[in-house]
Amino acid sequence: MGFTKRGGSDEGLLHPHTLLKVILPLLIIIGWEMIAILLNNEFILPKLESVFAVLLSPTADILGYGNLITNAFTSLERVILGFLIAAGLAIPLGIGMARSDSMNDFFDSTMQLLRPIPPLAWVPLALAWFKIGLASMIFIIAIGAFFPILLNTLDGVKSVKRNWIESAELLGATRREVMLKVIVPGAAPTIWTGLRVGFGIAWMCVVAAEMMPGTNSGLGYLIMSSYNWGQVQVIIAGMIVIGLIGIGFDYLFKAVDRRSFSWRELER
Protein backbone atom coordinates (compact mmCIF):
# COMPACT_ATOMS: atom_id res chain seq x y z
CA MET A 1 0.00 0.00 0.00
CA GLY A 2 3.00 2.28 0.42
CA PHE A 3 3.65 4.92 -2.20
CA THR A 4 7.29 5.48 -1.32
CA LYS A 5 9.83 3.29 -3.01
CA ARG A 6 12.93 4.30 -1.15
CA GLY A 7 13.40 3.67 2.55
CA GLY A 8 14.06 7.04 4.10
CA SER A 9 15.39 6.02 7.48
CA ASP A 10 19.01 6.92 6.87
CA GLU A 11 18.41 10.15 5.00
CA GLY A 12 19.14 13.52 6.56
CA LEU A 13 16.66 16.35 6.79
CA LEU A 14 18.27 18.27 3.95
CA HIS A 15 18.73 15.27 1.71
CA PRO A 16 17.13 15.81 -1.75
CA HIS A 17 14.71 12.90 -1.20
CA THR A 18 13.52 14.32 2.11
CA LEU A 19 13.06 17.76 0.53
CA LEU A 20 11.14 16.29 -2.39
CA LYS A 21 8.89 14.41 -0.03
CA VAL A 22 7.81 17.47 1.96
CA ILE A 23 7.33 19.89 -0.94
CA LEU A 24 3.85 18.72 -1.98
CA PRO A 25 2.36 18.55 1.55
CA LEU A 26 3.72 22.05 2.22
CA LEU A 27 2.26 23.39 -1.04
CA ILE A 28 -1.12 21.85 -0.20
CA ILE A 29 -1.12 23.43 3.26
CA ILE A 30 -0.08 26.85 1.94
CA GLY A 31 -2.60 26.66 -0.92
CA TRP A 32 -5.34 25.54 1.45
CA GLU A 33 -4.70 28.41 3.84
CA MET A 34 -4.56 30.97 1.01
CA ILE A 35 -7.83 29.77 -0.52
CA ALA A 36 -9.46 29.61 2.93
CA ILE A 37 -8.49 33.23 3.60
CA LEU A 38 -9.69 34.34 0.15
CA LEU A 39 -13.00 32.46 0.44
CA ASN A 40 -13.48 33.47 4.05
CA ASN A 41 -16.25 30.86 4.41
CA GLU A 42 -15.81 28.28 7.18
CA PHE A 43 -18.73 26.24 5.80
CA ILE A 44 -16.81 25.47 2.61
CA LEU A 45 -13.15 25.56 3.54
CA PRO A 46 -12.17 26.29 7.14
CA LYS A 47 -8.82 27.85 7.92
CA LEU A 48 -5.92 25.69 9.03
CA GLU A 49 -6.13 26.99 12.58
CA SER A 50 -9.81 25.98 12.95
CA VAL A 51 -8.92 22.40 12.02
CA PHE A 52 -5.92 22.41 14.34
CA ALA A 53 -8.07 23.72 17.16
CA VAL A 54 -10.23 20.60 16.84
CA LEU A 55 -7.20 18.30 16.57
CA LEU A 56 -5.44 19.85 19.55
CA SER A 57 -8.33 19.30 21.91
CA PRO A 58 -9.11 15.64 21.17
CA THR A 59 -10.93 15.15 24.48
CA ALA A 60 -13.35 18.04 23.96
CA ASP A 61 -16.94 17.04 23.24
CA ILE A 62 -18.04 17.86 19.70
CA LEU A 63 -21.69 18.90 19.30
CA GLY A 64 -22.74 16.26 21.83
CA TYR A 65 -21.41 13.43 19.66
CA GLY A 66 -18.50 12.60 21.94
CA ASN A 67 -14.86 13.52 21.46
CA LEU A 68 -12.29 12.53 18.83
CA ILE A 69 -10.51 9.98 20.98
CA THR A 70 -13.51 7.99 22.19
CA ASN A 71 -14.99 7.94 18.70
CA ALA A 72 -11.65 6.79 17.27
CA PHE A 73 -11.51 3.96 19.82
CA THR A 74 -15.09 2.94 19.02
CA SER A 75 -14.16 2.71 15.33
CA LEU A 76 -11.00 0.77 16.17
CA GLU A 77 -12.89 -1.77 18.26
CA ARG A 78 -15.25 -2.43 15.39
CA VAL A 79 -12.38 -2.77 12.91
CA ILE A 80 -10.48 -5.17 15.10
CA LEU A 81 -13.55 -7.32 15.65
CA GLY A 82 -14.43 -7.51 11.95
CA PHE A 83 -10.79 -7.97 11.00
CA LEU A 84 -10.30 -10.87 13.43
CA ILE A 85 -13.41 -12.61 12.14
CA ALA A 86 -12.19 -12.18 8.55
CA ALA A 87 -8.70 -13.47 9.40
CA GLY A 88 -10.14 -16.40 11.37
CA LEU A 89 -12.13 -17.49 8.33
CA ALA A 90 -9.82 -16.51 5.47
CA ILE A 91 -6.54 -18.02 6.73
CA PRO A 92 -7.82 -21.58 7.34
CA LEU A 93 -9.86 -21.45 4.14
CA GLY A 94 -6.86 -20.19 2.14
CA ILE A 95 -4.60 -22.92 3.55
CA GLY A 96 -7.24 -25.55 2.80
CA MET A 97 -7.80 -24.33 -0.75
CA ALA A 98 -4.08 -24.17 -1.48
CA ARG A 99 -3.41 -27.64 -0.12
CA SER A 100 -6.42 -29.56 -1.35
CA ASP A 101 -7.58 -29.64 -4.96
CA SER A 102 -11.06 -30.75 -3.99
CA MET A 103 -11.43 -27.90 -1.50
CA ASN A 104 -10.20 -25.50 -4.16
CA ASP A 105 -12.68 -26.86 -6.70
CA PHE A 106 -15.45 -26.58 -4.15
CA PHE A 107 -14.84 -22.98 -3.07
CA ASP A 108 -13.01 -21.30 -5.94
CA SER A 109 -15.91 -20.36 -8.24
CA THR A 110 -17.94 -18.92 -5.36
CA MET A 111 -14.99 -16.88 -4.12
CA GLN A 112 -14.27 -15.58 -7.63
CA LEU A 113 -17.91 -14.51 -7.92
CA LEU A 114 -18.04 -12.74 -4.55
CA ARG A 115 -14.63 -11.10 -4.69
CA PRO A 116 -15.38 -8.25 -7.15
CA ILE A 117 -18.44 -7.10 -5.17
CA PRO A 118 -17.36 -3.99 -3.23
CA PRO A 119 -17.92 -4.23 0.54
CA LEU A 120 -20.26 -1.23 0.41
CA ALA A 121 -22.57 -3.03 -2.02
CA TRP A 122 -23.33 -5.33 0.91
CA VAL A 123 -24.71 -2.46 3.03
CA PRO A 124 -28.40 -2.90 2.10
CA LEU A 125 -28.19 -6.67 2.64
CA ALA A 126 -26.35 -6.17 5.92
CA LEU A 127 -29.12 -3.86 7.10
CA ALA A 128 -31.78 -6.32 5.99
CA TRP A 129 -30.12 -9.23 7.72
CA PHE A 130 -28.58 -7.77 10.84
CA LYS A 131 -30.58 -4.56 11.26
CA ILE A 132 -28.95 -1.33 12.30
CA GLY A 133 -26.08 -1.75 14.72
CA LEU A 134 -22.78 -3.45 15.47
CA ALA A 135 -23.46 -6.72 13.63
CA SER A 136 -24.07 -4.94 10.33
CA MET A 137 -20.88 -2.93 10.63
CA ILE A 138 -18.81 -5.97 11.59
CA PHE A 139 -20.24 -7.82 8.60
CA ILE A 140 -19.20 -5.07 6.16
CA ILE A 141 -15.72 -4.80 7.70
CA ALA A 142 -15.21 -8.56 7.67
CA ILE A 143 -16.19 -8.77 4.00
CA GLY A 144 -13.74 -6.00 3.16
CA ALA A 145 -10.84 -7.64 4.98
CA PHE A 146 -11.66 -11.22 3.95
CA PHE A 147 -10.55 -11.33 0.32
CA PRO A 148 -7.08 -9.80 0.52
CA ILE A 149 -6.30 -12.16 3.42
CA LEU A 150 -7.69 -15.15 1.51
CA LEU A 151 -5.79 -14.39 -1.71
CA ASN A 152 -2.49 -13.77 0.05
CA THR A 153 -2.86 -16.92 2.14
CA LEU A 154 -3.47 -18.92 -1.04
CA ASP A 155 -0.42 -17.34 -2.66
CA GLY A 156 1.74 -17.83 0.42
CA VAL A 157 0.89 -21.50 0.87
CA LYS A 158 1.41 -22.18 -2.84
CA SER A 159 4.84 -20.54 -2.66
CA VAL A 160 5.99 -23.05 -0.02
CA LYS A 161 8.65 -25.11 -1.78
CA ARG A 162 7.99 -28.79 -2.34
CA ASN A 163 11.58 -29.40 -1.15
CA TRP A 164 10.75 -27.91 2.24
CA ILE A 165 7.76 -30.19 2.69
CA GLU A 166 9.53 -33.32 1.44
CA SER A 167 12.59 -32.64 3.59
CA ALA A 168 10.32 -32.51 6.63
CA GLU A 169 8.60 -35.74 5.64
CA LEU A 170 11.98 -37.42 5.24
CA LEU A 171 12.97 -36.21 8.70
CA GLY A 172 9.88 -37.89 10.08
CA ALA A 173 7.30 -35.08 10.21
CA THR A 174 3.63 -36.00 10.46
CA ARG A 175 1.03 -34.17 8.35
CA ARG A 176 0.26 -31.95 11.30
CA GLU A 177 3.93 -31.15 11.85
CA VAL A 178 4.40 -30.38 8.16
CA MET A 179 1.49 -27.94 8.45
CA LEU A 180 2.61 -26.24 11.66
CA LYS A 181 6.37 -26.26 11.19
CA VAL A 182 6.79 -25.87 7.43
CA ILE A 183 3.68 -24.64 5.63
CA VAL A 184 2.53 -22.03 8.15
CA PRO A 185 5.97 -20.47 8.79
CA GLY A 186 6.81 -20.72 5.08
CA ALA A 187 3.61 -18.90 4.10
CA ALA A 188 3.65 -16.50 7.06
CA PRO A 189 5.29 -13.50 5.33
CA THR A 190 2.74 -13.52 2.51
CA ILE A 191 -0.16 -14.11 4.91
CA TRP A 192 1.12 -11.15 6.90
CA THR A 193 1.00 -8.98 3.78
CA GLY A 194 -2.62 -10.09 3.35
CA LEU A 195 -3.38 -9.10 6.93
CA ARG A 196 -1.81 -5.69 6.39
CA VAL A 197 -3.79 -5.01 3.22
CA GLY A 198 -6.92 -6.49 4.82
CA PHE A 199 -6.58 -4.24 7.84
CA GLY A 200 -6.24 -1.19 5.62
CA ILE A 201 -9.43 -2.09 3.78
CA ALA A 202 -11.22 -2.89 7.04
CA TRP A 203 -10.31 0.57 8.29
CA MET A 204 -11.78 2.15 5.17
CA CYS A 205 -14.91 0.03 5.56
CA VAL A 206 -15.54 1.00 9.18
CA VAL A 207 -15.71 4.67 8.37
CA ALA A 208 -18.15 3.97 5.55
CA ALA A 209 -20.15 1.54 7.69
CA GLU A 210 -20.49 4.18 10.39
CA MET A 211 -22.15 6.46 7.90
CA MET A 212 -25.03 3.97 7.65
CA PRO A 213 -28.30 5.27 9.05
CA GLY A 214 -28.92 4.64 12.72
CA THR A 215 -25.28 4.61 13.82
CA ASN A 216 -24.54 6.73 16.88
CA SER A 217 -20.79 6.59 17.41
CA GLY A 218 -17.44 6.29 15.65
CA LEU A 219 -15.33 8.54 13.44
CA GLY A 220 -17.52 7.96 10.37
CA TYR A 221 -20.57 8.93 12.39
CA LEU A 222 -18.78 11.98 13.79
CA ILE A 223 -17.82 13.42 10.41
CA MET A 224 -21.20 12.65 8.85
CA SER A 225 -22.99 14.38 11.72
CA SER A 226 -20.61 17.33 11.54
CA TYR A 227 -21.64 17.74 7.92
CA ASN A 228 -25.26 18.10 9.02
CA TRP A 229 -24.21 20.98 11.27
CA GLY A 230 -21.90 22.53 8.71
CA GLN A 231 -18.85 21.88 10.87
CA VAL A 232 -16.35 21.42 8.04
CA GLN A 233 -13.35 21.90 10.34
CA VAL A 234 -14.50 18.79 12.30
CA ILE A 235 -14.94 16.84 9.07
CA ILE A 236 -11.39 17.61 8.00
CA ALA A 237 -9.99 16.99 11.49
CA GLY A 238 -11.82 13.64 11.55
CA MET A 239 -10.41 12.74 8.14
CA ILE A 240 -6.91 13.58 9.33
CA VAL A 241 -7.35 11.32 12.38
CA ILE A 242 -8.62 8.52 10.13
CA GLY A 243 -5.57 8.93 7.91
CA LEU A 244 -3.13 9.02 10.83
CA ILE A 245 -4.55 5.89 12.44
CA GLY A 246 -4.38 4.13 9.06
CA ILE A 247 -0.73 5.10 8.62
CA GLY A 248 0.03 4.08 12.20
CA PHE A 249 -1.30 0.56 11.76
CA ASP A 250 0.34 0.15 8.39
CA TYR A 251 3.62 1.12 10.02
CA LEU A 252 3.11 -1.43 12.81
CA PHE A 253 2.40 -4.19 10.29
CA LYS A 254 5.47 -3.23 8.30
CA ALA A 255 7.65 -3.15 11.41
CA VAL A 256 6.67 -6.71 12.31
CA ASP A 257 7.30 -7.71 8.69
CA ARG A 258 10.83 -6.27 8.74
CA ARG A 259 11.61 -7.84 12.09
CA SER A 260 10.20 -11.33 11.57
CA PHE A 261 9.83 -11.96 7.87
CA SER A 262 12.87 -10.34 6.31
CA TRP A 263 14.04 -13.76 5.09
CA ARG A 264 11.50 -13.59 2.26
CA GLU A 265 13.39 -10.77 0.54
CA LEU A 266 16.85 -11.96 1.55
CA GLU A 267 16.30 -15.48 0.25
CA ARG A 268 17.52 -15.00 -3.32
Partner: protein, 253 residues
Protein backbone atom coordinates in the same frame (compact mmCIF):
# COMPACT_ATOMS: atom_id res chain seq x y z
CA UNK B 1 21.78 -52.51 7.10
CA UNK B 2 20.54 -54.18 3.95
CA UNK B 3 19.04 -52.20 1.09
CA UNK B 4 17.82 -53.89 -2.06
CA UNK B 5 16.15 -52.38 -5.07
CA UNK B 6 14.18 -55.08 -6.84
CA UNK B 7 13.00 -54.83 -10.46
CA UNK B 8 11.86 -51.22 -10.20
CA UNK B 9 9.94 -49.82 -13.13
CA UNK B 10 8.17 -46.51 -13.35
CA UNK B 11 5.76 -45.19 -15.97
CA UNK B 12 4.39 -41.68 -16.08
CA UNK B 13 1.19 -40.66 -17.76
CA UNK B 14 2.07 -37.60 -19.77
CA UNK B 15 -0.61 -35.05 -20.73
CA UNK B 16 -3.27 -37.51 -19.61
CA UNK B 17 -2.73 -39.97 -22.48
CA UNK B 18 0.81 -41.03 -23.46
CA UNK B 19 2.60 -43.47 -21.21
CA UNK B 20 6.22 -42.51 -20.70
CA UNK B 21 8.58 -45.14 -19.44
CA UNK B 22 10.98 -43.51 -16.97
CA UNK B 23 12.66 -46.50 -15.38
CA UNK B 24 12.84 -50.11 -16.51
CA UNK B 25 13.66 -53.09 -14.35
CA UNK B 26 16.28 -51.58 -12.06
CA UNK B 27 17.77 -53.94 -9.51
CA UNK B 28 20.60 -52.97 -7.15
CA UNK B 29 21.93 -54.76 -4.09
CA UNK B 30 23.43 -52.04 -1.94
CA UNK B 31 26.11 -53.12 0.48
CA UNK B 32 26.41 -51.62 3.93
CA UNK B 33 28.64 -48.52 4.01
CA UNK B 34 28.98 -48.59 0.26
CA UNK B 35 29.30 -45.41 -1.80
CA UNK B 36 27.34 -45.83 -5.03
CA UNK B 37 27.15 -43.25 -7.79
CA UNK B 38 24.28 -43.43 -10.23
CA UNK B 39 25.50 -41.92 -13.45
CA UNK B 40 23.32 -41.02 -16.38
CA UNK B 41 22.35 -38.28 -18.82
CA UNK B 42 19.67 -35.70 -18.00
CA UNK B 43 16.18 -37.11 -18.19
CA UNK B 44 17.21 -40.74 -17.66
CA UNK B 45 15.06 -41.00 -14.56
CA UNK B 46 17.86 -41.01 -11.99
CA UNK B 47 16.09 -38.46 -9.82
CA UNK B 48 12.91 -40.51 -10.05
CA UNK B 49 14.87 -43.58 -8.97
CA UNK B 50 16.19 -41.74 -5.92
CA UNK B 51 12.74 -40.37 -5.06
CA UNK B 52 11.27 -43.86 -5.19
CA UNK B 53 14.02 -45.19 -2.92
CA UNK B 54 13.28 -42.31 -0.53
CA UNK B 55 9.59 -43.18 -0.49
CA UNK B 56 8.56 -39.86 -2.08
CA UNK B 57 7.35 -41.51 -5.30
CA UNK B 58 5.82 -44.92 -5.94
CA UNK B 59 7.10 -47.41 -8.51
CA UNK B 60 4.78 -48.87 -11.13
CA UNK B 61 6.28 -52.25 -10.33
CA UNK B 62 9.08 -53.63 -8.22
CA UNK B 63 10.00 -52.59 -4.70
CA UNK B 64 12.64 -51.15 -2.39
CA UNK B 65 13.41 -53.06 0.79
CA UNK B 66 15.46 -51.76 3.71
CA UNK B 67 16.16 -54.12 6.61
CA UNK B 68 13.19 -56.25 5.63
CA UNK B 69 10.73 -53.35 5.34
CA UNK B 70 9.24 -52.38 1.98
CA UNK B 71 9.50 -48.61 1.42
CA UNK B 72 6.21 -46.96 0.50
CA UNK B 73 6.60 -43.65 2.35
CA UNK B 74 9.50 -41.61 3.76
CA UNK B 75 11.48 -43.50 6.36
CA UNK B 76 13.98 -42.15 8.87
CA UNK B 77 16.53 -44.76 7.83
CA UNK B 78 16.82 -42.90 4.52
CA UNK B 79 17.95 -39.26 4.45
CA UNK B 80 17.87 -37.19 1.28
CA UNK B 81 19.73 -34.12 0.05
CA UNK B 82 18.17 -32.24 -2.85
CA UNK B 83 19.95 -30.30 -5.57
CA UNK B 84 18.05 -27.12 -4.75
CA UNK B 85 18.59 -25.70 -1.34
CA UNK B 86 15.96 -27.11 0.93
CA UNK B 87 16.95 -25.39 4.17
CA UNK B 88 14.25 -23.47 6.03
CA UNK B 89 15.10 -19.78 5.57
CA UNK B 90 13.28 -18.77 8.76
CA UNK B 91 15.45 -21.08 10.86
CA UNK B 92 19.09 -20.56 11.81
CA UNK B 93 21.69 -23.16 10.86
CA UNK B 94 21.39 -24.67 14.35
CA UNK B 95 17.61 -24.77 14.14
CA UNK B 96 17.72 -26.31 10.67
CA UNK B 97 20.04 -29.07 11.81
CA UNK B 98 17.98 -29.68 14.95
CA UNK B 99 14.72 -29.92 13.00
CA UNK B 100 14.68 -33.71 12.60
CA UNK B 101 15.58 -34.17 16.26
CA UNK B 102 12.85 -31.73 17.26
CA UNK B 103 10.36 -33.85 15.31
CA UNK B 104 11.53 -36.94 17.19
CA UNK B 105 10.94 -35.17 20.50
CA UNK B 106 14.60 -35.17 21.54
CA UNK B 107 14.98 -32.82 24.56
CA UNK B 108 16.50 -29.42 23.95
CA UNK B 109 19.89 -29.90 25.66
CA UNK B 110 20.44 -33.22 23.93
CA UNK B 111 19.51 -31.60 20.62
CA UNK B 112 22.04 -28.84 21.15
CA UNK B 113 24.76 -31.40 21.95
CA UNK B 114 24.08 -33.43 18.81
CA UNK B 115 23.97 -30.28 16.65
CA UNK B 116 27.26 -29.14 18.14
CA UNK B 117 28.88 -32.49 17.40
CA UNK B 118 27.89 -32.34 13.74
CA UNK B 119 28.80 -28.66 13.38
CA UNK B 120 32.32 -29.48 14.54
CA UNK B 121 32.52 -32.60 12.40
CA UNK B 122 31.82 -30.51 9.32
CA UNK B 123 33.64 -27.30 10.19
CA UNK B 124 30.46 -25.27 10.46
CA UNK B 125 30.89 -24.41 14.15
CA UNK B 126 31.00 -20.64 13.73
CA UNK B 127 27.87 -20.51 11.54
CA UNK B 128 25.41 -22.01 14.00
CA UNK B 129 23.45 -18.82 14.53
CA UNK B 130 23.56 -17.65 10.90
CA UNK B 131 20.56 -17.83 8.62
CA UNK B 132 20.77 -19.78 5.35
CA UNK B 133 20.63 -16.60 3.24
CA UNK B 134 23.83 -15.45 4.92
CA UNK B 135 25.69 -18.52 3.64
CA UNK B 136 27.18 -19.36 0.24
CA UNK B 137 25.71 -22.17 -1.85
CA UNK B 138 28.43 -24.57 -0.76
CA UNK B 139 27.87 -23.84 2.92
CA UNK B 140 24.14 -24.30 2.54
CA UNK B 141 24.61 -27.74 1.02
CA UNK B 142 26.95 -28.65 3.88
CA UNK B 143 24.21 -27.68 6.32
CA UNK B 144 21.66 -29.71 4.31
CA UNK B 145 23.93 -32.76 4.57
CA UNK B 146 24.33 -32.25 8.30
CA UNK B 147 20.58 -31.79 8.77
CA UNK B 148 20.01 -35.16 7.11
CA UNK B 149 22.80 -36.78 9.16
CA UNK B 150 21.59 -35.43 12.50
CA UNK B 151 18.80 -38.00 12.82
CA UNK B 152 21.33 -40.73 12.08
CA UNK B 153 19.86 -42.35 8.96
CA UNK B 154 21.41 -45.52 7.58
CA UNK B 155 21.47 -44.31 3.99
CA UNK B 156 22.06 -40.89 2.44
CA UNK B 157 20.36 -40.30 -0.89
CA UNK B 158 21.93 -37.39 -2.73
CA UNK B 159 20.34 -35.93 -5.85
CA UNK B 160 23.07 -34.02 -7.72
CA UNK B 161 23.71 -32.12 -4.50
CA UNK B 162 26.70 -30.21 -5.87
CA UNK B 163 25.29 -29.62 -9.35
CA UNK B 164 24.63 -25.92 -8.82
CA UNK B 165 28.06 -25.14 -7.36
CA UNK B 166 31.19 -23.80 -9.04
CA UNK B 167 33.96 -26.31 -9.78
CA UNK B 168 36.22 -25.33 -6.87
CA UNK B 169 33.49 -25.45 -4.25
CA UNK B 170 32.26 -28.67 -5.78
CA UNK B 171 35.66 -30.35 -5.44
CA UNK B 172 35.95 -29.19 -1.86
CA UNK B 173 32.52 -30.52 -0.97
CA UNK B 174 33.23 -33.87 -2.63
CA UNK B 175 36.33 -34.15 -0.49
CA UNK B 176 34.42 -33.16 2.65
CA UNK B 177 31.64 -35.60 1.85
CA UNK B 178 34.11 -38.49 1.68
CA UNK B 179 35.52 -37.33 4.99
CA UNK B 180 32.07 -37.32 6.62
CA UNK B 181 31.25 -40.65 4.99
CA UNK B 182 34.43 -42.13 6.44
CA UNK B 183 33.63 -40.83 9.91
CA UNK B 184 29.91 -41.67 10.01
CA UNK B 185 29.91 -44.99 8.11
CA UNK B 186 26.78 -44.23 6.12
CA UNK B 187 25.73 -45.90 2.92
CA UNK B 188 25.50 -43.33 0.13
CA UNK B 189 23.55 -43.34 -3.13
CA UNK B 190 24.72 -40.34 -5.09
CA UNK B 191 23.13 -39.27 -8.37
CA UNK B 192 25.29 -37.33 -10.81
CA UNK B 193 25.86 -36.76 -14.51
CA UNK B 194 29.53 -35.97 -14.02
CA UNK B 195 31.95 -38.81 -14.79
CA UNK B 196 34.68 -37.01 -12.90
CA UNK B 197 32.54 -36.72 -9.79
CA UNK B 198 31.50 -40.37 -9.97
CA UNK B 199 35.06 -41.66 -10.36
CA UNK B 200 36.25 -39.45 -7.51
CA UNK B 201 33.53 -40.52 -5.08
CA UNK B 202 32.26 -44.00 -5.82
CA UNK B 203 33.06 -47.55 -4.80
CA UNK B 204 30.70 -48.57 -7.57
CA UNK B 205 29.26 -46.63 -10.48
CA UNK B 206 25.92 -47.69 -11.91
CA UNK B 207 25.43 -46.30 -15.40
CA UNK B 208 21.87 -45.70 -16.60
CA UNK B 209 20.74 -45.48 -20.23
CA UNK B 210 18.74 -42.49 -21.54
CA UNK B 211 14.99 -42.81 -21.15
CA UNK B 212 13.82 -45.31 -20.20
CA UNK B 213 16.51 -45.59 -17.53
CA UNK B 214 17.95 -49.10 -17.44
CA UNK B 215 21.17 -50.28 -15.89
CA UNK B 216 23.65 -50.75 -18.71
CA UNK B 217 26.92 -51.02 -16.80
CA UNK B 218 28.18 -51.46 -13.27
CA UNK B 219 31.75 -50.35 -12.75
CA UNK B 220 33.81 -51.01 -9.64
CA UNK B 221 36.27 -48.24 -8.80
CA UNK B 222 38.88 -49.88 -6.65
CA UNK B 223 41.21 -46.90 -6.49
CA UNK B 224 42.43 -46.24 -2.96
CA UNK B 225 41.27 -43.02 -1.30
CA UNK B 226 42.10 -40.18 -1.15
CA UNK B 227 42.03 -40.21 -4.92
CA UNK B 228 44.15 -37.83 -6.90
CA UNK B 229 42.23 -36.37 -9.82
CA UNK B 230 45.48 -35.63 -11.64
CA UNK B 231 46.97 -39.11 -11.30
CA UNK B 232 47.36 -41.50 -14.21
CA UNK B 233 45.26 -44.17 -12.47
CA UNK B 234 42.41 -41.70 -12.03
CA UNK B 235 42.63 -40.75 -15.70
CA UNK B 236 42.55 -44.43 -16.68
CA UNK B 237 39.38 -45.03 -14.70
CA UNK B 238 37.85 -41.89 -16.08
CA UNK B 239 38.61 -43.04 -19.58
CA UNK B 240 37.30 -46.52 -18.88
CA UNK B 241 33.99 -45.11 -17.61
CA UNK B 242 33.75 -42.76 -20.59
CA UNK B 243 34.38 -45.66 -22.99
CA UNK B 244 31.68 -47.71 -21.31
CA UNK B 245 29.04 -45.01 -21.30
CA UNK B 246 29.74 -44.26 -24.94
CA UNK B 247 29.01 -47.81 -26.07
CA UNK B 248 25.88 -48.04 -28.19
CA UNK B 249 24.02 -50.03 -25.52
CA UNK B 250 24.49 -47.22 -22.97
CA UNK B 251 23.93 -44.18 -25.16
CA UNK B 252 20.99 -45.40 -27.22
CA UNK B 253 17.71 -46.73 -26.01
Amino acid sequence: MTLTIEHLSKQFVKNGKENVEALLNISIDVRDEEFICILGPSGCGKTTLLRIIAGLDHPTSGRVVIDGTVIDSPNRKLGMIFQDYSLYPWRTVNENIAFGLELQGVPKEQRAAIVQKYLELTGLAEFGTSYPYELSGGMRQRVAVVRALAIDPKVLLMDEPFGALDAQTRNKLQYDLLDIWGKTKKTVLFVTHSVDEAVFLADRIIVLTPRPGMICETILIDLPRPRDRTSIEFAKFRRHVLDLINQPKCSLS
